[in-house]
Amino acid sequence: MSRALLLTLLTLASTAAVGAEEPAAMLMRMSEAARDANYQGVIVYRTQDRLETLRVVHGVREGAEIERIQTLTGAPSEIVKLNGRVICLLPKDRRLTLDRPTPKGLFPVLSEERVAQLMTMYEFEAIGAARVAGRQCHGLAITPKDELRYGYRIWADAETGVPLKVNLVGREGRVLEQMMFTEVEFPEQLPDAVFDTEADQARVQSAPPPRAVAVDARALPEASWQFRELPPGFRVAMRERRLTADGGGVVDHVLLTDGLTAISVFSAYREASAPAFQGQSRMGAVHAFGRMLGTFHITVVGEAPPETVRMIGESLQPPPAASEPATGPGPGPGEPR
């Protein structure tokens, strides 16, 4: 992010409510630092019923951003991301995956409007200093103003701005999920080997050639599911459509966000006899809601209260004149049978 924008934001922040001046700038600084800084260390990730320890290396060199994450609990496995592109390295006898980019620019740099918008839904408050992983940190609390979303408490390294401890906070201040560095360093430079993704890619089993898929894309409408209502502040940030593994259908993925909280909605054609997750569930801090909508299976997933996730799932509507999915035998929702 440019210095000019940062200064603009600081200026903006200074005209905002008393107490929010530094926090807004802190937020942006943290967001940048997580992307721009070189750091490496050990992270403990914890939810109510799960705990993982990960070793992380992150750095930027000549504009390329690289991240390596290794598990320290259980089987040694590693994820490598280069400029957001994930090369997932699993134990070598597991079939390997992905060389597809994650969508960039999904959460663009916080703009003036966005910060202002966030402040209508969340309270920002500096919560003092603390030590994390032996480093002096400044704390920021982001507290939702309604019951429809969760908040954060973040402690960022005073010197670099990198978040070293992030709590996802639910009702009554309960910590639902936590990520915390237990060791961290900020090297000036990382060794070259960290950036050598060719060696990693050589370890990837080569994927079989892509199957030609007999799906007439014109017959598939652009993902145009609609929401009858959304919780205040939420908007569609991304829509995408992808094919299913067998190439015989599509999954629509809509991402909703209020700028901080993000909720995904997946919809996929489902054979009537096929089992599908319905109802509510939770994994750690993430809630899920599933329902059938005609012949489509809807799954809502997000780190938000169950009521929010359910509200979104229940308010999903098919587009008014949905075409029949090219490979499904039944009519689409809303179509006459």
Binding site: M30, S31, A34, Y45, T47, Q48, D49, R50, E52, L54, T71, G74, S77, I79, V86, L90, T97, L98, R100, P101, T102, P103, K104, L106, F107, I154, P163, V166, E177, M179, P210, R211, A212, V213, A217, E240, R241, R242, A245, D246, V251, L255, L260, A262, S264, P275, A276, Q278, G279, Q280, S281, R282, M283, G284, A285, V286, A288, M292, V301, R310
Partner: protein, 201 residues
């Protein structure tokens, strides 16, 4: 001689027939069993495992608690503390009940007691696919989920959601840890608990 086979077994260099004979003999010989324990302990000690002088051997207690057969592959393995059906994704019970298309709004909440082996199966490898037309976004192929069980599908959606967020800066650090944690977790011990024959189409 059995002791020789024992030594080879310690190194994973025992032949199948040797192993058969050795297991026979070891059943009859407490001395052989003790020898095995001593050699394993010697190895552990060299590796830095700390063993106290008053530390008891738990082997007899473990063996007395085993059922006769381990659960065979394909059967559902329930965790020790019955009858509560524990699982990482709670709605497994709801799924069984909600086989019909009608939406069943079952609200389940995790208690503070979380027991049982994590029961989310691993992601099955999936073939690569190419989207037919731009603007179909390219997604990691391991996230293709429709032809898997509901539990796997739900978990895959979670991972896809977290991965999408993992690009974010600050809150994304949490999504990123979550993504890594769930993607990289070893599923090997979990499959047995969730597999039910005939679920895959």
């Amino acid at each position: 001689m059995a002791k020789d086979s024992l030594s080879a077994l310690l190194d994973g260099e025992c032949s199948a027939s040797e192993l058969d004979r050795m297991l026979e003999e070891i059943e009859r010989s407490p001395d052989l069993k003790a020898s095995w324990s001593r050699l394993c302990l010697a190895r552990d000690s060299a590796e830095g495992v700390r063993v106290r002088k008053d530390q008891r051997c738990i082997c007899a207690d473990v063996m007395s608690r085993l059922d006769v057969q381990p659960a065979s592959a394909g059967a559902r393995v329930l965790p020790l503390f019955r009858p509560r059906l524990q699982g990482y994704w709670k709605p497994f019970a709801a799924l069984a009940a909600a086989a019909s298309v009608a939406a069943v709004a079952v609200s389940l909440s995790f208690g503070d007691r979380s027991e049982g082996i994590l029961t989310v199966p691993g992601l099955a490898p999936q073939p690569a696919i190419t989207p037919v037309s731009a603007p179909l976004a390219q997604r990691p192929r391991y996230l293709q989920t429709v032809s898997t069980s509901p539990e796997e599908e739900l978990r895959a959606y979670l991972i896809e959601h977290s991965n999408t967020l993992a690009d974010r800066g600050m809150g994304g650090t949490l999504s990123y840890a979550r993504f890594a944690a769930h993607t990289l977790s070893e599923p090997a011990e979990l499959s047995a608990a969730m597999e039910s024959p005939g679920e895959r189409p």
